[in-house]
């Protein structure tokens, strides 16, 4: 699927401008963005549901730009399921086949087939409101699947489901993709969903591609401060810092609270520093002082929130490093943090683009501020 030069606007406001994108066949492609990023607009223009100002859209090398939605060989799954409440599940799924006048027994065969795959055979005679959210969304997926489209468009299909069900459906969507081997374009604002599902993620912000790549690429090498803060759970710590040349590398002044020495050379000046919560650890005495805020226990690890000055810092401490007296810490009590070996990212303060990604040295602690 290819998008060329796509431009969409509402009134005077351009949502997308000269947007280009190529999505490979059979790919699970996730478009990730916060609300207002243009992700739903992008999806709807692919579907032909909104008028586009300029540009072309090709699906399977056919130019579908001027085709009616149903003629584009696509199917769509919606966040609020968008089932027809006055029709039975069977009619919901089969309506699109009835409209193209497919013979009745063939329709029955196809509907039963997809109902089987999605485990909703026992619900075919019920009405949508008699089903749970998860079941309704299965019906939504079945309705998309029964047309055998070349592209599935999914608009935050799991957002209306509760957390447990969402986890379950993540697995099912993955296995669904393995089964149908069709292109899926999936829009969401939840980085967990994106990481779990995608072959490739596109991060969209204000109608522009911020970064595109595999989930690992985005996690390991966020090219932009927006991506850095977006991908990863809990999100990366983004701190102000200042770099100065040093004898054997660069000395980083972190918010005037401590220094960090790195061996690589990076341009001097003020910038942002990105530290994943996983590489922040607890130190005894000589770490950077921080006031304890609260912690969240997951069983596997503990996410500690502490404040350095006014800036909140998240640290994920693995189980074996959790201090025994953690529960005795009070809000506001002073504790010490250190930076463990790992990747540290530096971003330009004005453009937000990556300046340098460095591998921070082995067990070098932050020196206390003088």
């Amino acid at each position: 699927m290819i998008i060329e030069n796509l431009t969409v606007r509402y009134g005077e406001k351009y949502i997308l401008r000269n947007f280009d994108l190529k999505i490979d066949d059979g790919e699970f492609f996730v478009i990730l963005g916060s609300s207002g990023s243009g992700k739903t607009t992008l999806l709807r223009s692919i579907a032909g549901l909104i008028p586009i100002e300029d540009g072309h859209i090709y699906i399977d090398t056919n130019d579908v730009t001027d085709l009616y939605p149903s003629d584009r060989n696509i199917a769509m799954v919606f966040q609020n399921f968008a089932l027809y409440p006055h029709m039975s599940v069977y009619n919901n799924i089969s309506l699109n086949l009835k409209i193209i006048h497919m013979p009745k027994d063939e329709i029955r065969k196809k509907v039963n087939e997809v109902a089987n795959v999605l485990h909703i055979t026992q619900h075919l005679n019920k009405y949508p409101k008699q089903l749970s959210g998860g079941e309704q969304q299965r019906v939504g997926i079945a309705r998309a699947m029964v047309r055998n489209p070349s592209v599935f468009l999914m608009d935050e299909p799991l957002s209306n489901l509760d957390a447990k069900l969402r986890r379950e459906m993540l697995g099912e969507l993955r296995s669904f993709h393995e089964k149908v081997k069709k292109t899926i374009i999936y829009v969401c604002h939840d980085q967990d969903e994106a990481m779990a599902l995608a072959d490739r993620i596109l991060v969209l912000n204000q109608g522009k591609i911020v970064q595109m790549g595999t989930p690992d690429e985005l996690y390991d090498h966020p090219a932009d401060i927006f991506v850095a803060g977006f991908i990863g759970n809990p999100p990366m710590n983004v701190l102000e810092c200042e770099a100065e040349r040093d004898v054997s590398g660069t000395r980083i002044n972190v918010m005037n609270s401590g220094y960090l020495h790195i061996d690589d050379e990076i341009p001097e000046g003020e910038m942002y520093m990105g530290l994943r919560p996983e590489i922040i650890g607890l130190a005894d005495r000589d770490g950077i002082p921080a006031s304890f805020d609260y912690f969240i226990n997951s069983g596997l690890d503990v996410e500690i929130h502490a404040k350095v000055g006014d800036v909140s810092i998240r640290a994920v401490i693995p189980k074996e490093e959790i201090p025994a007296n953690l529960r005795e810490l009070h809000n506001g009590e002073i504790m010490h943090l250190k930076v463990k070996p790992g990747a540290v990212y530096f971003y330009n303060k004005s453009s937000g683009l990556i300046v340098k990604e460095v591998e921070y040295g082995v067990s070098r602690k932050i020196k206390k501020a003088d």
Binding site: P69, D71, I74, M76, F78, N80, Y84, P85, N96, I99
Partner: protein
């Protein structure tokens, strides 16, 4: 400690309870105030006496008989062209309801969903007509009908009532609450816009249709002023005119028992309509689509 807590809760309960009692008492009193005239109407229709006594005899079993009611019914049914007048009322109301609900659906949908220049201003203009009482435009309407030569005709009685701003409003508000995605899904399923309207949006708006049906039926069924001006010949009479006419049919003496029988006959269709659509009515006037 525990006991005082128990007492405290008990006293709260007492407060709650007395509030509940008060609500019940007031509701029941209100219900009685509303029901008494109906009760008297029914009782009177089952009596032989034509007089309205004061204070009224409210005893259901005194001087009443089914035979009296049948006799009253027979008299009333034989009065003038009563069956024809009844038919007129039913026919006109059905046409007005069908027409105004249909027009309301179409224009309500257009105001809610379609995009065209000046849409909202046009809607406000339609809405503003709700503020104008009918008597104000009645003369103009009358002259209009006169010019068309539609006086004392069905179309003259029906058409002016079909343009109902209330129905447009009810339908628009309801369509606004239906999630747009369902229509987008229908588009992807291959329906053309008019199919989407008739097969998806309109069926989803059943509660609003029910509310609009009840409102426009009551409006048309009870309409007195317009037929009074519009109708110049006896055979186009509708029931509200008949009621008025019946009052003076026997000179200065009103035959109250027969009058009440006409009332009962007049009320039946309204009650039927309400019973049929009641299920949707509340949802319709709360103007909210809920899954």
């Amino acid at each position: 400690m525990l006991r005082s807590e128990y007492r405290r809760r008990k006293s709260i309960n007492v407060g709650e309870n007395s509030k509940t009692y008060l609500i019940y008492v007031v509701s029941i009193l209100l219900a009685i105030v509303y029901l008494v005239p109906f009760y008297w109407t029914v009782v009177k229709a089952f009596r032989d006496s034509i007089f309205a006594n004061f204070p009224p005899n409210m005893n259901l079993f005194s001087q009443t008989s089914v035979a009296y009611f049948l006799a009253n019914l027979k008299t009333v049914w034989g009065f003038g062209d009563f069956p024809l007048w009844y038919f007129n009322s039913v026919f006109i109301s059905i046409c007005v309801v069908a027409g105004s609900v249909f027009v309301g659906m179409l224009s309500g949908y257009a105001f809610a969903r379609l995009k065209f220049p000046g849409r909202d201003y046009m809607f406000y203009a339609v809405l503003a007509t709700l503020m104008i009482p009918f008597p104000v435009i009645s003369i103009a309407s009358y002259v209009f009908m006169l010019d068309l030569n539609w006086l004392s005709t069905y179309q003259g009685l029906i058409l002016p009532q079909i343009a109902s701003a209330l129905d447009v409003f009810i339908m628009r508000q309801y369509f606004l609450t239906i999630p747009e995605e369902v229509e987008l899904a229908a588009k992807i399923d291959g329906m053309k816009p008019w199919q989407i309207f008739f097969r998806v949006s309109a069926p989803m708006a059943k509660p609003a249709i029910a509310a609009a049906t009840i409102f426009s039926f009551i409006g048309s069924w009870n309409n007195f002023l317009w037929p009074l001006m519009e109708v110049h010949s006896l055979n186009m009479f509708t029931l509200p005119l008949v009621l008025n006419f019946f009052k003076g049919a026997n000179g200065t003496q009103i035959y109250w028992n027969q009058m009440m029988t006409v009332n009962i006959l007049t009320m039946i269709p309204t009650i039927v309509i309400f019973v049929v659509f009641e299920k949707y009515f509340i949802r319709g006037i709360s103007m909210n689509y809920t899954r």
